[in-house]
Point group: C2
Chain length 127, copies 2
């Protein structure tokens, strides 16, 4: 499985869908900042990461998941610094021959992201 991991401080833009004759399913998952966190209104979230550790952990997780779910390609991009309500903080793209592998890998990657990857968020209050 090929994968690519990126961090960016600019708005996330989906790459064009590459044409492949072997890919039957592509999942694009967008994680978006909502206007309330734990009941409080926010202006956005500020994300920080330990980038080398986060990359290493994501690579480890993706290697583990690739043994469980037969995906061909995964693209992961996470935004850092301030992300306003309504904007995306993360995009995961999983491409596979069959839909179940792409959907399951995406779900498990997101669960592991929250649990194990050193990326932190802080609420930014509205003015």
């Amino acid at each position: 499985m090929n994968f690519q991991i990126e961090f960016t401080r600019a708005p996330i833009v989906a790459p064009a869908r590459e044409v492949s004759k072997e890919i039957g399913a592509q999942v694009d998952f967008w994680g978006i900042v909502r206007e309330r966190e734990q009941g409080r209104a926010i202006a956005g979230l500020c994300y920080e990461a330990h980038e080398p550790m986060a990359r290493a952990m994501l690579a480890k997780i993706l290697n583990e998941l690739s043994a469980l779910h037969d995906c061909d390609e995964v693209y992961f991009i996470h935004r850092l610094d301030f992300v306003a309500v309504g904007e995306a903080s993360v995009l995961v793209r999983a491409r596979a021959r069959h839909r179940q592998a792409a959907l399951r890998l995406t779900e498990e990657l997101l669960n592991r992201l929250k649990a194990d990857v050193p990326i932190w968020k802080q609420h930014v209050a509205p003015r």
Copy 2:
């Protein structure tokens, strides 16, 4: 839950991502024609639907799934007639407050689509 069901004879283009303060997760699922079906090389697939029945069945399925998975919006578009290898035959977009609802609804909708919706495909052999 709001939903929209479309059939098209033109290539599928993803609508722009609408900004909402309540949506925390968006799943875009692309189903793409692969170059082999049951081991045989194909040029593409030709899709036919009984459109009124397919719409009614999809609406019924979406109403059932909305009771199980707390999604806000679902957009479903399926292509008809010839779809070449590498092109998308279907796009499902599910938007929800939380990722699990969007992922699960997408997966179940795709399972039900294959099982219950009157859309048929025929292999088109290469020249």
